[in-house]
């Protein structure tokens, strides 16, 4: 599984970096950033789904997640 943020949709609500700081961070203006290459280790799959399902803008998608 991978995580991806659509920068056109992200408005910097920060739910992703609150809920899954292992996978997301913020930039100087508070927009969400995927950390590293976006690959999600199996142990963090639940957190990736939690972040995606709490983003008000539906800006996070999880390619490769059934």
């Amino acid at each position: 599984m991978r995580v991806r943020i659509d920068p056109e949709r992200c408005q910097g609500h920060g739910r992703c970096y609150d809920l899954a700081p292992e996978l997301f961070g913020d930039d100087d203006e508070g927009y969400g950033q995927v950390l590293g290459d976006g690959a999600v280790p199996p142990a963090l799959a639940g957190k990736a789904r939690l972040a995606a399902s709490n983003c008000p803008e539906r800006a996070i998608d999880l390619p490769g997640d059934g």
């Binding site: 609500h13 920060g14 970096y17 609150d18 100087d28 203006e29 508070g30 008000p56 803008e57």
Partner: protein, 423 residues
């Protein structure tokens, strides 16, 4: 930068020279039918809030009123989201639904950038402020916020009943934003009057509203001049020296944004803290769970924000159009109900219940799209710290007198009197 010419003159004169807006007839009195005659300023709006919205969502999802010169109230998540995203057809030129429509010429900046701004101006005006309102910037206010919460509780002494709205919740956002703007901490009571001037008193005669707004801008100008004499590391000095497109900000941009930052965070956060304490006071099972497991608090805070979202915004329709089954006219108001969207059962399971460990929660208490609340990271910090300190210090508490609790009408909903028994 003494002698900054932008602030040498009295801005009041300049405001008088601006083109006039349009005023509509002030209509007050009981609402006859929520689907055709709604008003957010009548007391029944405050007392029947969620049942009014739920009723409309089922029978007439986009309600109408002829008051305020005409307006619409969409109640479904889908419609609220579509309008928040559609800045082409819905303008933020005024975000307070009243009997006054500012002139079209003030778009796209509007009177208090960026909340009153439309694209393309909005983007850069907002961008100036974003770095000061990130999660990291908000966390720098946390120690002072925590100390303030403790001092407010210390001041309760050994009384068994306190008003959590006026003695606790209200002071927290006021003091935090005063610090950030670099205003005297003791000016809190004046801020309260400014908030009343802008967000309440909407159906007062125009002269009275203008007088109150003038007092606000006179105050802000005095703060600007004080910062010109003694520049400091705060938001006021930052705005005075900030540049947009290679030029210093227009003086009314500086004071308009200062007004916004001062007003936007006070009643909103006050309401969120108050509503959360109200819920816990009357729901012992949730209170006990949080006392036993403080780690659940961040999740609970999001659910309390969903269920008791305090902020409703407004928009103005740009051109006549047929929109999702209704005929909208140019300059009709839209009352943009984030609280109603948050309780739409087609988006949220058990929408009318507070589920403090809700896992999937795409609530829109802080709005959607380009105007996402600039202060959301700050507000979340204040709300979490206010509840953490309260739970740690007070432990169990209950409503002292449920009938004495009062809720505000208007666009910011929260408890304004909240007597709690604290031991």
């Amino acid at each position: 930068m003494p002698g900054d010419e932008r602030f040498a003159r009295d801005l009041r004169g300049e405001r008088d020279e601006r083109p006039l807006g349009t005023r509509s007839e002030i209509v007050t009195g009981p609402v006859s039918d929520w689907a055709t005659d709604f008003s957010h300023l009548e007391p029944e709006w405050a007392t029947g809030f969620y049942s009014i919205l739920a009723g409309l969502r089922e029978r007439c999802p986009i309600a109408r009123t002829e008051r305020f010169g005409g307006g619409w109230l969409p109640t479904r998540y889908e419609d609220v989201a579509a309008i928040a995203y559609d800045t082409e057809r819905f303008s933020s030129r005024s975000i307070i639904m009243s009997n006054f429509r500012p002139p079209r010429q003030i778009a796209p900046a509007g009177g208090s950038p960026p909340i009153s701004s439309d694209p393309p101006f909005h983007h850069d005006a907002r961008r100036l402020l974003l770095p000061a309102f990130t999660k990291t910037a908000a966390s720098r206010q946390e120690p002072a916020t925590r100390a303030l919460c403790h001092s407010l509780i210390d001041a309760f002494g050994d009384r068994g009943v306190v008003d959590a709205a006026s003695e606790y919740a209200q002071h927290i956002p006021m003091r935090v934003i005063a610090r950030m703007l670099g205003f005297p901490p003791g000016d809190g009571p004046r801020f309260r009057q400014f908030v009343e001037a802008t967000l309440e008193g909407i159906n007062l005669p125009p002269e009275e509203r203008i007088e109150r707004m003038t007092a606000l801008f006179d105050y802000l100008l005095a703060q600007v001049r004080d910062h010109l004499d003694r520049p400091r590391d705060d938001l006021t000095s930052y705005l005075i020296s900030a540049e947009l497109h290679g030029r210093k900000l227009a003086p009314e941009h500086v004071t308009g944004t200062m007004a916004l930052l001062l007003i936007a965070g006070i009643d909103t956060t006050w309401s969120a803290i108050g509503a959360s304490l109200w819920h816990l006071a009357r729901t012992p099972s949730d209170l006990e769970r949080l006392l036993a497991d403080p780690g659940l608090l961040p999740t609970a805070v999001e659910e309390l924000l969903r269920a008791y979202a305090p902020v409703t915004m407004a928009r103005l329709v740009k051109e006549d159009m047929h929109w999702r089954g209704v005929d909208m006219r140019a300059d009709d108001w839209i009352l943009l109900s984030f609280p109603s969207a948050n309780r739409d059962p087609s988006v949220f399971d058990r929408a009318d219940e507070v589920v403090i460990d809700r896992q999937v929660n795409r609530h829109v208490a802080f709005g959607l799209g380009i105007h996402r609340c600039l202060g959301s990271h700050l507000a979340r910090m204040e709300l979490r710290v206010a509840l953490e300190v309260w739970l740690e210090r007070i432990g169990s508490f209950t409503l002292a007198d449920p009938s004495a609790v009062t809720w505000s009408a208007g666009q910011i909903r929260g408890p304004r009197a909240l007597p709690l028994r604290i031991g």
